[in-house]
């Protein structure tokens, strides 16, 4: 019993992966600073004391050094959190005299504008504005910060990099009227956006200038627009909207009814660019470049470079950045001939993201993105091992190789999907108040569709304008695939007990579940691991 307890709680497996340890400790520091409101100076004194202790006690043993280093990482996380949430005196949030007021604000458009059609026929435009100045008491003051701009009745087109002057109602997001959806305000706050500007019409906005013509990001966003127009040209609605969402991250035009079907089946992740999409696209590019007989190291470098251009085009969201860092680490490890460890790569990606934005640790997208990868790698062999003992791989299969491969893929897909559901359902229930058992089956169906649709979508983007016939053929195929996919998901979401909407689940219940689940995974399933690899935790 004691030996079993020691085996389950053997944390030397984590300490052997210092990056994984650093990730958890850093996250702990962020959570501690956010909830306790500790002061920056107190933490700085503590850090100075610890650094001094490291120098004095460095020869006392590796355990003491490890504990002191962990404490320093913890304090770094706390400092990063406080630093991120501290706003300078020039920040627009601090300059505002009232929770909401009408004012003139000058800034630069810092995102690709999103256009949505309203019920009463007018078009709404929204974009992110990087504020440069603000008019207060007849004086222009230097200001900084990001603001979410919404134009209720829009006809004009705006572009990334446009310098504009806006007259609108600027509101503080935490206490502003009209933002009764506090979850949305908190979501924007976590991205460093503390204000929102509402303008009624285009007349309230004057275009002052544009960024330099050779601005790299502006070119990427122009390309994004052209790809969107290409899809609109060849595909009917809502196929063009869904394909734009899957390939370039433009989700605004997807009909609400269609989104709800995917939410209920737990497959909403395919309607936005995520790690899965990045993996498929980099896989396609790798395959194409390999056909062109490009040597391994230059090929890896090209894939990594393309990946980061794609991150900018698809909107620089957390799941895309996470996947791109991991894939980049993989390819760099092949270039420099080093072993690749998926847990370390995952932790490294998490640390980089948290260094840039510590508040991401509370974000549902961040938690789900990392949890999904972790549970696929960690839990799938354990669950599979319950049903299938480790087989001698040398033994010849008794059925045909093709059938064996299909069955093997289906088995792996089922257990991966089950592992993800078992691992992430509490996080989904906590943030979105829904539990979808049908997601296990739905994801097995959806993922092969996604691979084919993305491949065809990429072909549609790359095909020259002259080959109209080929483009139309691809478009018809994509339309057929979408028709099948949407109807399959609609059927699945209509089945009894496919999903449950709940009132909510407490954070303590989530923590208790993961502790109990860890004991079960390690204590009972750990003995039966199928296909244990050297990289396994």
């Amino acid at each position: 019993m004691i030996s079993e307890f020691k085996r389950i709680f053997n944390f030397s497996r984590i300490t052997k992966r210092p990056l994984a340890c650093a990730f958890f400790v850093f996250s702990g520091g962020i959570i501690y600073a956010y909830h306790t409101k500790v002061s920056f100076h107190a933490l700085l004194y503590a850090a100075s004391f610890l650094i001094l202790s490291v120098f004095i006690l460095r020869k006392k043993g590796k355990n003491i050094f490890f504990i002191l280093l962990s404490a320093l990482v913890f304090i770094s996380g706390a400092l990063a959190c406080i630093n991120f949430n501290t706003l300078s005196a020039n920040n627009i949030y601090r300059l505002l005299e009232r929770p909401s007021q009408y004012a003139y604000i000058k800034g630069t458009v810092k995102s690709l504008p999103a256009y949505t059609w309203q019920r009463w026929g007018n078009r709404r435009c929204s974009f992110l504005l990087e504020i440069a100045s603000y008019k207060m008491n007849n004086t222009w003051l230097k200001a900084e910060g990001l603001s979410q701009v919404t134009i209720s009745d829009n006809e004009r087109e705006y572009n990334y990099g446009d310098s504009v002057l806006i007259y609108g109602n600027i509101k503080k997001l935490d206490s502003a009227q009209g933002y009764s959806r506090q979850g949305y305000a908190r979501y924007l706050n976590r991205r460093g956006i503390y204000t929102a500007i509402d303008a009624k019409k285009d007349d309230d906005i004057a275009l002052i200038g544009k960024t330099r013509p050779l601005s790299f990001k502006k070119y990427i966003h122009k390309l994004r627009r052209r790809i969107e127009r290409r899809f609109k040209r060849y595909l009917p609605y809502p196929d063009d909207a869904v394909l734009s969402a899957m390939l370039i991250g433009r989700r605004e035009a997807i009909p609400k009814g269609l989104s709800n079907i995917f939410v209920r089946t737990g497959t909403i992740h395919i309607l936005s660019v995520s790690g899965l999409h990045v993996g498929i696209i980099s896989g396609i590019l790798f395959f194409v470049l390999k056909l062109l007989k490009i040597p391994r190291k230059p090929l890896s470098a090209i894939v990594v470079l393309f990946l980061w251009l794609y991150v900018v085009m698809a909107g620089e969201r957390t799941p895309i950045i996470r996947a791109s860092i991991m894939i980049s680490v993989y390819f760099i490890s092949t270039i420099i001939d080093r072993d690749f460890d998926i847990y370390s790569a995952l932790s490294f990606a998490g640390l980089l993201i948290l260094l840039l934005n510590p508040m991401q640790v509370f974000d549902a997208g961040f938690q789900l993105s990392f949890s999904c990868v972790f549970f696929i790698v960690y839990l799938t062999p354990r669950i599979e091992g319950v049903f299938f003992r480790h087989k001698n791989k040398e033994k010849k299969p008794v059925i045909k190789r093709g059938v064996y491969n299909i069955l093997s893929y289906s088995r792996k897909a089922f257990f991966s999907s089950l592992a993800v559901f078992v691992g992430v359902w509490p996080i989904v229930a906590f943030h979105f108040r829904i539990i979808s058992p049908i997601t296990v089956i739905a994801n097995i169906i959806v993922i092969p569709f996604l691979g084919i649709i993305i491949s065809l979508g990429a072909m549609l983007v790359c095909i020259p304008y002259a080959l109209i016939f080929m483009a139309r053929l691809i478009a018809y195929t994509v339309h057929f695939l979408f028709f099948t996919l949407f109807n399959s998901m609609a059927i699945l979401s209509g089945l009894p007990f496919s999903f449950f909407e709940i009132k909510g689940i407490s954070l303590w219940a989530v923590c208790a579940y993961y502790i109990a689940a860890y004991i079960v995974f390690e204590g009972f399933l750990g003995h039966n691991m199928q296909g244990a690899e050297k990289n396994d935790l």
Binding site: P18, T86, T139, K142, A206
Partner: protein, 118 residues
């Protein structure tokens, strides 16, 4: 952990803490500053352009045009038109304060963008 790894970890952590301290110090020491004067002329012109496009004649404006005024929705627009129908054209901008619901505060918000003549 090897000696080199220990040294690198310490150096990275020290660098991170230093950067965070510098960033925090810069943020708390910043003070409110006026905007660069070269740009204010451009801003004044742009503001003039917005103001001109926004000026509404409250004697001739339709219900839809009145809703373009800041803080004036369909309900207030309806009240302005009802007052206009009952009492005739507004003789001055200040007379709009006689409309039910439009007090000193709301008048201050819209006074810059209303007129009673073309």
């Amino acid at each position: 952990m090897q000696r080199l790894e220990k040294t690198i970890s310490l150096v990275v952590l020290l660098g991170l803490i230093s950067c965070l301290t510098i960033s925090y110090s810069l943020k708390i020491s910043q003070s409110i500053a006026p905007y660069a004067s070269a740009e204010t002329d451009t801003l004044a012109l742009a503001r003039e352009k917005i103001t001109q496009s926004k000026i509404i004649n409250i004697n001739t404006a339709s219900r839809y045009q009145l809703t373009r005024l800041p803080g004036i929705g369909p309900k207030f627009a309806e009240r302005i038109i009802e007052y206009r129908d009952a009492h005739g054209s507004f003789s001055s901008c200040e007379e709009i304060k006689c409309v039910k619901g439009i007090g000193e505060k709301k008048y201050k918000t819209i006074s810059m963008v209303i007129t009673v003549t073309d």
